[in-house]
């Protein structure tokens, strides 16, 4: 393996080393309730950002598949969706741990109000929609039909992410940042709403985790491409 071709894998490693060292040792804003757990931003929130980017890649390959019906793009779309879902599940699980030590104890929210948290419900819906994507894929025996219908479904699944995790939690009250009435503004996209010290680790963390996800996805893609060699065109068109 040539190093120049795999520079981004090394970049992923270095960024994640920086995430752990900087994430644990660098100064963070002192916030009530959150205290030291604000460092979860580099891990929990980075999972969701990584998920979003991987789903975007999956969405792009689904469109690409529908434009030329190249089976190769279907494999790409499926594996990126799989890694995106994994990141989503990890984000959900880490969120559950974070909830149990902040909202439930220090902020004395009831379990009921946490269960009603629209971002949790929205994220669950989004992940279930992606779960259905894999169920749908598994229920076909005809490869062309499977690729076609699941590509269309994948586009729907990606579009559903926006109302369920980005729009609705910001219209109704939410414990997450960015809700109406909270002073946290738009923490995802507005540079002024996240502390500079957090951003210095957060953005590298997002890139590092995403690259790791892409790496694992490409490994699975390469394996499947080898498996389905007979189904692919003889001279593989460059992507």
């Amino acid at each position: 393996m040539k190093v120049n071709k795999s520079w981004w894998k090394i970049a992923s490693f270095l960024l994640l080393v920086y995430t752990i060292v900087g994430g644990f040792l660098m100064e963070v804003p002192h916030l009530p309730i959150l205290n030291e757990t604000i460092r979860n931003l580099y891990f929990h929130v980075a999972m969701w950002f990584g998920m979003m980017i991987l789903f975007m890649a999956s969405f792009a390959y689904s469109i690409k598949y529908l434009r030329g019906f190249n089976y190769r793009n279907d494999i790409y779309a499926k594996q990126f969706a799989a890694l995106g879902s994994l990141f989503g599940i990890l984000g959900y699980t880490t969120g559950a741990i974070w909830v149990s030590v902040t909202w439930l104890t220090d902020q004395s929210q009831s379990i009921g109000s946490v269960m009603k948290e629209p971002k949790l419900i929205g994220a669950a819906i989004a992940l279930l929609i992606y779960g259905a994507y894999f169920v749908l894929r598994g229920s076909f025996t005809d490869i062309d039909k499977r690729a076609r219908i699941s590509a269309v479904y994948n586009i729907f699944a990606f579009v559903m992410l926006f109302p369920s995790i980005w729009i609705i939690p910001r219209l109704v009250g939410s414990l997450h940042p960015g809700a109406p009435g909270s002073d946290s503004g738009n923490p995802a996209l507005n540079f002024k709403d996240v502390d500079l010290r957090l951003r210095m680790v957060f953005y590298p963390a997002v890139i590092g985790w995403t690259l790791l996800g892409v790496w694992i996805a490409t490994l699975k893609i390469r394996l499947q491409l080898m498996n389905d060699k007979s189904l692919l065109p003889e001279t593989p068109t460059k992507k």
Binding site: F24, L25, P32, N35, R222, L223, M226
Partner: protein
Amino acid sequence: MKYQKKIGLLLLVLSNAVLVFAQDNKPVEMADVMRSNGKIYVVVAICLTILIGLFLYVWNIDRKISKLEKE
């Protein structure tokens, strides 16, 4: 009497404001002990070890797949 009541109410509100202000300025508890006795480095070392192990594993799979692709 009414006047005094008003003053009293004003003072109550003001003291409340001071109280809120004081709450805002209360130092937030952070894991300073872990930092001062250096135990945080143990956490960093363990997380780095896991990270390096994971990356070595993925790198190894990558190499094996590359070998398979060449065949």
